[in-house]
């Protein structure tokens, strides 16, 4: 199981009341496979972290895990072992901006 932490607006959209969610991702666990699994579990999240068609990350969204910025890692690259082992959560972060 992979642990995912979503920003508050997406937790409210998906009616997630806990701080993080877990999703089952078949091997090889990649960022794309993780987001696929997340959107399968929570269809209302389609299009909110990445474009629904191009699958390109939305500009104000960043991905982090284990203190590393994974935003520009290829979506098909394997996720860090600590994430797939459930030791570290995969963080979806909205840029700090706005009012």
């Amino acid at each position: 199981m992979i642990r995912v932490v979503l920003p508050a607006p997406l937790r409210s959209l998906a009616r997630i009341r806990t701080g993080e969610v877990t999703v089952e991702v078949a091997a090889p666990a990649t960022q794309a496979a993780l987001l696929d699994a997340l959107e399968a579990a929570y269809p209302m999240l389609r299009g909110t972290t990445r474009d629904a068609r191009t699958l390109r990350r939305r500009p104000f969204i960043r991905f982090y895990a284990g203190g590393r910025d994974l935003s520009d890692v290829e979506p098909d690259a394997p996720l860090p072992a600590a994430v797939t082992a459930g030791e570290e959560p995969f963080l979806v972060v909205g840029a700090i901006a706005g009012g």
Binding site: P7, A8, P9, L10, S12, L13, P43, M44, R46, G47, T48, T49, A52, R53, R58, F60, I61, G94, A95, A97, G98
Partner: protein
């Protein structure tokens, strides 16, 4: 006893205000979708329990919410708005070509007779339609493709398709309006479109009488007289008596003819409401006095409606989609401000009461008259 439900979209969520037919005491529910921008909510005329809401965010994009129980509970439906074919370019503010990019839904217009059919006016300007209750969306691309699309330019607030008028007597006829392109009409259900801006004069564009390029802020009509259209343009209040084929100015004695919303009384097709705003650079009421102006003669002669509205130190704006009328008798008028107030009048505008004072900036106000 009949009642009303006022649907309020704000910068930080949606609110539902309900009252009985007296429209004196109100229940306020919300925020729904707290923290998200709600550009617009609108209920289906065919099923008042069916409501569509445009929920968006600069971070997370567009979400479409649907309620089947009058706004008590909501379900996210389809949010894929894909332009038909190769989208091409429109003009950017400096006149350079700019690719068409979907940003958000500005306005939903549910069909008159089918709760599952709904039109969406979006930024960058285009018209989409769903026939499955918002699950999937398809562009009516004849609008962007009719010829002038590459010449459209955004207004200051973006290039949004903000008004969709359905004709109850001719189902194949729709009028839409875009900032800052103007009015367009289809007579074949959206397959082909023509600009309908003859008579508009806009001194702030290179050709003041151009066929397209006018910053139309809002158009409105009475459902029983769909050929009579009223328009609040960037500057000028206009009227058409021939379904938009030609327009004439009816600003008359307004203190300023700049403004955003315009609406028509539910039972008096010649009674029209606007909210004059100082100027294009001063988006607040003249003299700090919030006044709705009413014409009972279809324009030209206007009277200020002030009772219950702040008449000193008021510097809010009223946005284009933030005024609506109910169909009770006497007709109720409602509008919301960027200061978070929603005002209501249960006597055709003679007097006003704030229903709520302190919401986030109000983007849109719609009213449902309930049986």
């Amino acid at each position: 006893m009949s009642g009303v439900r006022v649907l309020v979209g704000t910068k930080k969520g949606a609110f539902v205000l309900t009252s009985d037919g007296k429209r004196q005491s109100w229940r306020v529910e919300g925020p729904h979708f707290g923290g998200w921008e709600i550009y617009h909510l609108k209920g289906s005329p065919a099923d008042p329990n069916r409501i569509y809401a445009s929920q968006s965010s600069g971070w997370f994009g567009q979400v479409v919410q649907r309620s089947d129980d009058g706004g008590a509970t909501w379900e996210a439906v389809g949010n894929e708005f894909v332009y038909d074919g190769v989208p091409g370019t429109h003009q950017w503010y400096d006149g350079s070509p700019h690719p068409w990019e979907f940003k958000r839904v500005w306005h939903f217009e549910p069909a008159l007779d089918d709760p599952d059919q709904v039109y969406a006016g979006v930024e960058d300007a285009a018209l989409f339609r769903s026939t499955d209750g918002g699950k999937s969306w398809r562009e009516l691309s004849g609008l962007r493709g009719h010829g002038s699309g590459p010449n459209w330019q955004p207004g200051a607030g973006g290039m949004g398709l903000h008004t969709i008028l359905l004709d109850p007597t001719r189902p194949e006829r729709l009028h839409i309006a875009i900032s800052a392109a103007g009015v367009f009409r289809t007579d074949d259900g959206g397959a082909t479109w023509a600009p309908k801006n003859r008579g508009l004069k806009s001194e702030y564009i290179p050709d003041p009488n151009a066929e397209v390029g006018h910053c139309v802020h809002r158009i409105a009509c009475h459902p029983e007289r769909p050929d009579v259209l009223f328009m609040q343009k960037h500057w000028d209040v206009m009227r058409s008596d021939d379904g938009g084929d030609s327009w004439r100015e009816v600003s008359g004695n307004l203190p300023t003819d700049f403004g955003f919303p315009i609406d028509v009384h539910a039972h008096e097709p010649e009674t029209v409401y606007v909210v004059p705003i100082t100027s294009d650079s001063l988006h607040y009421p003249p003299e700090g006095k919030l006044r709705v102006y009413r014409s009972r003669s279809g324009g030209e002669e206007w009277e200020p409606l002030t009772r219950g509205l702040p008449q000193a130190d008021c510097y809010v704006n009223v946005l284009r989609d933030a005024m609506a009328v109910d169909v009770l008798d006497p007709c109720g008028i409602y509008f919301g401000t960027t200061g978070g107030q929603v005002y209501g009048s249960a006597d055709s505008g003679d007097s006003w009461t704030p229903i709520v004072h302190d919401l986030p900036a109000v983007y849109s106000v719609e009213v449902q008259t309930l049986p």
